[in-house]
Structure formats: C-alpha cells, structure tokens
Symmetry: C2
Subunit: 371 residues, 2 copies
C-alpha cells in the first residue's frame, strides 16, 4: 500500500490535462522544441557554440536532448548538479562557480576521473587545492578563470589581474588551463535592446580582451564562456566568445518574456480552484511552495479578467471580474512563473504535454542540488 | 560508484560543524527541545491541546517527537503531506485545507481507512463528493467547516452561514462532522502584543460563537481549531478553542523573532564563503535556491559588521566591515532564515547538531509535497 500510494500523484501517460494532480509543472512540448530548435539554429553555423545552463531546468532528459541538438556539453552552478549530469551520461560539464570546500574538491577530483569537468576559479589557494586533489585522484580538472565583467559578484578583474592565476593553472599538475568565464548577468534582463547590446558588447570586450592578453603571454585560451538567455544572440555573435551558457530559453518566464526574444512560453504551473468565497475572489491550491515571487508575482495565462493578487504558502488569491470569468471549485487554471529557475527548483517532476495529453513525466533530478 | 556518490554529501555522525557540505540546514537540538518543551508545557494543563502544523518542518521524526511530548496529532496543509505523516505512523491528522479534485478525494478516502483523517470543507458540492468517495472506500472522513475569521482567504463566514454545511456533514454517510477550523492568519505576525491579542480574541469570539450556535441547533462540535505560533498562547487560552495548529515554534525565524515569544532560534543555514573580491565584500555559496526572501532578506547570525545584502540564485553577497570581520574562501557562516516554512521547503534534510557535532540527519520527507 505505501508503494502504491507513492505513485498515485503521477497522471497516467495519455491522460488529459484536467486529470493531473495539481499544482504541477507542465511542459508544452511543441513550444519547448521550437525554443530548442531556434537556439540550436543560431549556433549551427557560428564559431561560438551552445553549452546550456542546467540550473534552470535541472532535467537530465532535457540536457541530453540539448546535446543531441548540437550543444557541446552542459553548464551548471554546483558540484552536486555536475554529479547528476555525469550520472546521466553528460560527458563535458562546466561548473560556472567556485568549489572551495576541501571535501567538495575531493568529490570534484573523483568526478573528473570519468567525465570532462571544468570549474571556475578566482583565487590562488583554491586553485592549488583543486590541483592537489585532482593530482591525488589521478584526474585532470579543467580550469576557467572567472572574470568579473561588470556584475560585481565573484571573479578577478579583467586584464592583467588574470595573468598570474592563468599561468599557475597552466603549470600545476592535476589541472588544465582551459580559458575564461565571464557572465554579463548585470544586463541579461535589460529591456532596452540597444542598451542590452551595448552592455553585453562592453562586457565581451573586457572578456575577449583578457583572452587576447593571455594569448600574447603564450597561454592557450580555448574557452571563452559567457551569456544568458537575454544576451545569447549578442554575446554569441561577439568575435572571440567560444560558448554561451543560456539556461531559461527552453521554458521562458514572465521576466524574460518582456525582452521580445523569439522564444515561446513553454512551461506553466497548473493549479486548481479550491474555494470561491465570492464572485470576485477565487482561491487556488498553489502558493509560495509551488511558485516563487523573487521576480514579482506570476501571471495567470490566457484568462481575461483574472489576476493573481497574492500568494500565501499553499494558497493563491485570484481577483476575478465576474463579467469576464466565473469559477467553481475544481476548475483548472495555468500560471506563467515569474522566475523559471527558482520555480523549477520547488518541483520534483515535469508533466510533458503533447496535443493536450500527458506524453512523458520527467524527474527534475537536479532539484535541490545546491551543495 | 553512483551509489557511493549519492551519500557523499552527508556528513558522518559525530563530525564537527565545519565538515558539513554547505548550504545545509542545521538544527540546534538543545534550542529546539527547549522550544518543544515550552509549547508542550503551556498546553499540559489546559483544555485546549496542541496539534502542531507539519507545513513548517515537514519532518516525520520531529512530528513523532511532538506527539511523544503531548501533541494530540498533526495538522498539515496538503493531502500529500498527510500521506507522508500516515506512512510515518501518525494516527490523527487534520488537513487544514480544501481537497477538491476527484482523484484526490479518492486518495483521501483511501488514506482514511487506516488513519484518522479530518479535512477542511467550505462548500457543499465538495462535501458531497468527499462523503461519496469515503462511502465507496468504506472509510469515514472527519469534517471541519473552515470559517473565515478575518483572513479573507478560504472559508464560510462565521455564524448562521455554517449551519447548512454542518448539518449536511452530520447527516451524510462516509463523513463525520467534527467541528470548526478558523485561522487568524491576519494577525499572527502583529508586532504590537495588545493589538495581536485583541485581533486574536475577536477572531476566536467569531469561531467559538459559531461553535455555540451549531451546538444550540443540536450539533456536536468536538473540534474548534485555530492558532499559529504568534497567537498560540492567546487563542490557546480562549475558552472554547480545543486545539492549536502552531507550526514555526520548534525553529523560529527572523519574522517570528520580532514578536518577543519565549522560543529560541533553533534553525540556521550554514553557508561557505567562496570568494572574497575585496575586504568589503564576500560571496557565499547560498542563494535563493537555499534561502527564501518572501519575508525579506535572511540575517547573518552572530557576526557584527557582516550583512547579507542580496541573494542571486546560487550566491549570497555579504557586505563586510573590515574593521570588524575578515573572510577568506572556505570560512563558514550561519544565517537565520527570514521565513522558516518556505526555506525548509527547499531542503532535503536537516543536520541535527548537539554539542557542535552532527548527531543525526533527518530527511525532510514532506518537502515539495504540495499536491
């Protein structure tokens, strides 16, 4: 009986939309494939290649699909995400973040025995420790120097400051100096397309200029990694950038939809109306444990006169114009997440929908893998 | 190897604080037990009893500990949480929320075969459907009518409006009319203690008045359920209230700590410094995937001159006064969540600490159980 109960909340394959236990994340397969194809197409005949970010979708199935469509490997944010990807068979993984704990470095070095692993570094001691761990494990860890190209988070300043670290990475046993990483996160959401382009180009000038500087000192720089969904077509077209780390484009969200990018909304949260205290108010079964608000409130999809007013932990409050909509308990609605990455991180699975029917269920194996 | 890797991120029992892979939620066992004891003590000689809310800690181990210390059962927010509690052996479970989907009602009715289940109802059709599902399953589901005591979310208005539903619940086969539920959520965080008491008493007057009204019509009202951590000592002392649903008191958080309650902070997030770009700035490995911001920013614990300035997905930015603190990569810090319930929902496990050593690891089995 417990075993049986554990799968009761999974809708049978082929079942219709309204039979899915909610709250549930639905992928519109056609829209998602159109997004994957659009991005793959951009990189098909360019020198820069796509290495999509796992942090958004956290699904090994989708990662393998991205690789099948031309991606050169995956980017991820944490070591534990890299472990999930390696276990799923992804062979080339860039951890776009520092791994500093000694126990984590041992995991990193072990992982690099069977998989090509590249990790971001911005500090000398950390580089020495990673090299030592890899040397002891008999593996080689790829190193990209993280350059702060304007975001003001981690990273070494562009230019000369990167030279000692790069030289050290090129000399130490256990590591291989692979190149540079610089994320223009300060401008990926810039709504003005001209300003977005200007900011991205400024950042990429710093990054590729640093790469050229290292080359002028005899260092080989294979990887120059940058970009997010908002700047993929800009930084991805900038001479000298070799790979782009976009994450959100397969699904999109309220915030990215403001940029006018050629990607369709492919992910929604299905919720059920559980109470209708008045014609002007309806309560749904999705709150802050199924939807995030760090980019503002999510938006109700395709229902004029219906607005999500607030979320509590397990409830959402809808304001309803009774002239335009009328609800009763049991009705389903769909909601567009305001921030796809943090929303996905709340869920254990995607319900993949094709022709309004459940086609597949994908486990979000990277969920909660922040360690 | 994959099997081995799966437990690499679990610190060995007995290991010291700094050896825990971060970000990780740490329970200070002594502080938590003091909180459990303080709340249990309040209810020991009162007519109202404690039925703690599972939505906060989502840990079956902790639920069983609460019951061992005198709680009469557990409250939870969702059917899937009730399933986790039942599987852990909790025998008396109140779902303080509507369960409206037909498939969920079948799960509910099945669950009630082996466990005493009580569910909130605020609408007639829903009550009929639950009764039918339970009748078919050969079980009895307890019913509490949810009363809107001022929060403006789900629920029937207090007074006469509850009578038809209560009568129906008392008549239908498959269900048992158990009483009323009313959550004074609009005032649990009120900082002014007098206003908090006034609001709570107003809400409880409506709730217990409705119970009396039903009794005057010959209905038996066993359960009058209310309360949160902020009002447990107020509503729990109000004549006619029979049980209190407080959730946050075992752990506490930044928001609840403002109320001057006799509970200690017992939960922190341990994070590691991963980058120190300048003496005024340090970056930690915890962002919005490990900490929530729906109640504002979390707060760094016990480090003067160190302030959490912002969170991105996997990074936290600390502002550091170099006169008071100095960091290097690898240093650990602890952070007090601003909202314990949504923060816990991001994590798979607690590291239970006693005397600064890992004593136990508890799985957060209710995490993500919002369906």
């Amino acid at each position: 009986m417990p075993g049986m109960k554990n799968t009761w909340y999974l809708p049978p394959i082929g079942s219709p939309k309204f039979s899915i236990p909610t709250p549930a994340l639905l992928i519109d397969r056609a829209a998602m494939e159109s997004n994957l194809e659009c991005m793959a197409d951009f990189f098909r005949h360019r020198s820069a290649k796509l290495r999509p970010h796992f942090k958004t979708h956290k699904s090994p199935q989708l990662a393998l699909l991205q690789i099948e469509m031309g991606a050169i490997g995956m980017t991820c944010a944490k070591l534990s995400e890299a472990e999930v990807l390696a276990e799923a068979g992804v062979e080339n993984i860039l951890i776009a973040n520092q791994v500093v704990d000694l126990r984590k470095m041992i995991r990193l070095a072990e992982l690099a025995r069977g998989t090509q692993i590249i990790v971001a570094v911005d500090q000398e001691t950390n580089l020495h420790q990673i090299a030592e761990a890899a040397h002891e494990a008999g593996s080689i860890v790829g190193i990209v120097i993280e350059v702060d190209v304007g975001m003001g988070r981690c990273g070494v300043p562009p230019g000369e400051a990167c030279l000692p670290l790069a030289r050290l990475a090129a000399q130490l046993p256990g590591v291989h100096f692979a190149g540079l990483l610089g994320y223009e996160g300060h401008t990926v959401f810039e709504i003005d397309p001209h300003r977005r382009q200007e900011n991205a180009f400024q950042a990429m000038t710093k990054l590729t200029g640093t790469a050229d500087l290292l080359r002028s000192h005899g260092l080989e720089v294979e990887i120059v990694s940058a970009g997010g969904t908002g700047t993929a077509f800009l930084s991805g077209d900038f001479p000298g950038v070799t790979e782009i780390e976009a994450g959100s484009y397969p699904f999109m969200d309220v915030k990215y939809n403001q940029l006018g990018l050629p990607f369709r909304q492919a992910l929604t949260l299905q919720a059920t109306v559980i109470s209708t205290p008045s014609p002007q108010r309806a309560i749904i079964d999705a709150g802050m444990k199924a939807l995030t608000t760090d980019n503002g409130l999510p938006v109700v999809a395709g229902l004029p006169g219906v607005k999500l007013l607030r979320l509590s932990e397990e409830h959402g409050l809808l304001e309803v114009d009774p002239e335009q909509a009328r609800f009763q308990p049991g009705d389903r609605i769909e909601i567009i997440p305001s921030h796809v990455c943090t929303t996905v991180n709340l869920h254990d699975r995607y319900i993949v929908m094709q022709d309004e029917k459940v086609q597949e269920i994908w486990t979000i194996s990277g969920r909660g893998r922040f360690y």
